[in-house]
Symmetry: C2
Subunit: 256 residues, 2 copies
């Protein structure tokens, strides 16, 4: 049977419910089944109707995450049963959201899909801490990278991609490999004094940011002891961020 | 006198009013003065209250754009007069939005600012045409570039930044320098058959997209004859876009 409704891939935005788009809100409010990752803000999930079935595909009963194949199968199964299915992804589904795998699986089985974009964590972090990702004559470009690779191994781009002083680097899900990243960016020849930001829970009310220099990024990340999702920014634009703790203050605090 | 209200830098999103965030909508609905660029969707501007003073800083009476200095001065003047001022920017203010210049001008004069992020055109385009900006094992990274430079000259990054086949390139405001870009990316050694997309008015209902190959991108852009703002995507992820016209069809059409 052809499903009555397309599966909606919806960007949940970066953490605060009022950073959802109006289109995303409408989709969530009419969901009959909602599959979400563990990182999606609880406040966003509760916007679904009380009768909506919620499935946390980031966690199974035994504490492990669902394998991708199970998520794909669940999406197809609910859609074929005629439900309005929302697949909620943190931030923007098209950026490190692995939406392509789920979309392809569904379309090969005759299930249509529609994607609703969201505000990505980098945009939310820049807004929250009043800096710009690009800045005329300072940083003309921005490169979004992730520390999460297919097989769990670190996958760093070539030195040439990391070296350019006019490119802001934004690292998603990279705190666990930050030692490798700091070393690679320094080895590529970037100034050790380049300002960096470590941002926790970008966009959420409890979001915080720490500033330091590239040489020392690994220590900065360790000392920040972030519990929420982290985002790391490397580049001169970080110098202009407001409302952040600088690393010297942080060191004093942990020594006290 | 210290202004009563901070100036709000608000991301208008990529074109459709329902791609605004809830926070942005609330800011626009309580604006007393709204300064916007010419590219911001008219539908979004009309969400401001009927009593709100609208200023199109992209156009003066004589058809030219306001110089940046005038926009800065207007923002400070309205804020000091005690008004709730919204500075509306297309897409996300932190990405190619030149928000830093305005923010610094205001803060130096004791005017506080708050930024509200938005969905950027790249995310909207990916959602609208069902492709992903990053894709596991295909494109691990994405580089946002602009064709607009400080002095009007083309400013291209080094070949190394353009060469990596695992990096999706997204070009904002670059249609006018597309010949230089095609040449530079080819010279950097990227496969001439790399799929490319030329997207017009990403996110808007009238949004359209054309697909071709890197060798031929300049012709593709010329034949598309886009009237709305354009976005160009270079990378293997473009192969998976749906709902786009392929360039062969376009050539047939213009020959007919």
């Amino acid at each position: 049977m052809t499903p009555k409704h397309p599966v909606l891939f919806v960007g949940a935005g970066p953490g605060a419910a009022d950073l959802l788009t109006l289109r995303a809100l409408r989709a969530i409010e009419s969901a009959e089944v909602l599959l979400h990752d563990s990182l999606v803000n609880q406040e966003v999930i509760t916007l679904a109707p009380p009768t909506c079935r919620l499935v946390d595909v980031g966690k199974r009963g035994d504490g492990d995450a669902y394998p991708q194949g199970s998520t794909n199968a669940l999406l197809a199964q609910y859609a074929r049963a005629g439900h309005r299915v929302v697949r909620l992804k943190g931030g923007d589904p098209s950026l490190f959201g692995r939406v392509e795998e789920e979309r392809r699986y569904l379309e090969e089985r005759g299930v249509e899909t529609i994607t609703i974009p969201g505000v990505t964590a980098a945009s939310a972090a820049a807004a929250q801490f009043s800096f710009s990702l690009t800045e005329r004559d300072v940083s003309r470009r921005v490169l979004y990278l992730t520390g999460r690779a297919g097989g769990g191994a670190v996958c760093l781009p070539s030195a040439a991609l990391l070296a350019d002083a006019q490119t802001t680097l934004v690292l998603y899900m990279a705190a666990h490999v930050i030692g490798d990243i700091e070393a690679a960016v320094l080895r590529a020849g970037r100034d050790p004094r380049t300002p960096v930001l470590m941002i926790e829970s970008a966009g959420a009310e409890e979001g915080r940011a720490w500033r330091g220099a590239l040489a020392g990024l690994t220590d900065l990340v360790a000392q920040a002891r972030a519990r929420g999702p982290s985002l790391i920014v490397i580049g001169d634009v970080a110098a202009h961020a407001r409302g952040v703790e600088d690393v010297a203050a942080l060191v004093r605090q942990s020594a006290a």
